[in-house]
Symmetry: C2
Subunit: 167 residues, 2 copies
């Protein structure tokens, strides 16, 4: 969504400016550019992962599992660390279990809980994709100097911290 290829022309601008005098076209375009490039980069990552038969959500769950010392944790903790709802995590785990990349193990001490475990196949999948991923991230970020990258992150964090104006 939010295609920036379709920039408004002078006629359109005057129409909107007349109806909505508070509009600051530069700021709006900058804001939309941030949104659009974020979503394009995310789509690019999706396409890259698709080449390995993975999807962004599922791939991220595998990484979170690999971070655990025993390659195991619970759906709730995964949901919290991934920043999604428990319901969404259920769906992600369904897909990963179907593909044999994780397994669900019941917890006998607390029968509400499940242990989610990274399988050998899951670890092997990460070993396929991660070296390629890291190389490409390096190549992508090399288009900015380290000072530029740092300023980019700082500016994004400034915007992020101002989210309250939208509430």
């Amino acid at each position: 969504m939010l295609q920036l290829k379709d920039l408004p022309n002078a006629e359109i601008l005057s129409k909107f400016a007349e109806r909505y005098p508070d509009a600051d076209i530069h700021k709006v375009l900058q804001f939309l550019t941030v949104l659009r490039i974020g979503s394009d980069l995310s789509l690019m990552l999706d396409n890259f992962l698709a080449g390995y038969g993975l999807l962004q959500g599922r791939w991220w769950v595998l990484i979170l599992l690999m971070r655990e010392a025993d390659l195991t944790t619970t759906p709730s903790i995964l949901a919290s660390k991934a920043g999604v709802s428990r319901a969404t995590m259920t769906g992600l785990l369904d897909g990963l279990e179907r593909e044999g990349l994780v397994s669900r193990v019941t917890d006998k001490r607390d029968r509400r809980r499940l242990a989610i475990q990274l399988t050998t196949a899951g670890q092997a999948k990460l070993d396929q994709v991660m070296p390629d991923y890291y190389q490409r991230v390096n190549a992508l970020m090399d288009s900015l100097s380290s000072a530029e990258a740092e300023e980019l992150i700082q500016s994004l964090k400034s915007l992020h911290s101002q989210q309250t104006v939208f509430e």
Copy 2:
């Protein structure tokens, strides 16, 4: 997805670095920060629009329609300008039509085509939301100086232009 609250600690970093020596943790974190803040800002916009009973995809269609001189265009053109597939546009228009914000009119000269028209209710909905939207965008972007904002956009465009490294 892609929660950055859960930053890797030293133990995790060494585990990943050992297994994947190409990983440059600073670059990876910067990359993920761009993705995450983009998605957070998009979510923020969703929440804002929800207060007016709107959703981002549908709202954007209304704006594209308002840009047209006669408030009318076709689903294909909308899909192209919004940067989504025709199938996705069908779904967005279904929702908007159900709410009475747009109407579908058959084209008698080319019976494959539909004319999508912004209704009075659709224009009224935009008139409710847009002034508030523009004020909030202004407030958000005021957290950056105009020079900072310009550098931010330039850096994002640099990244965007390097997307090919992920193909």
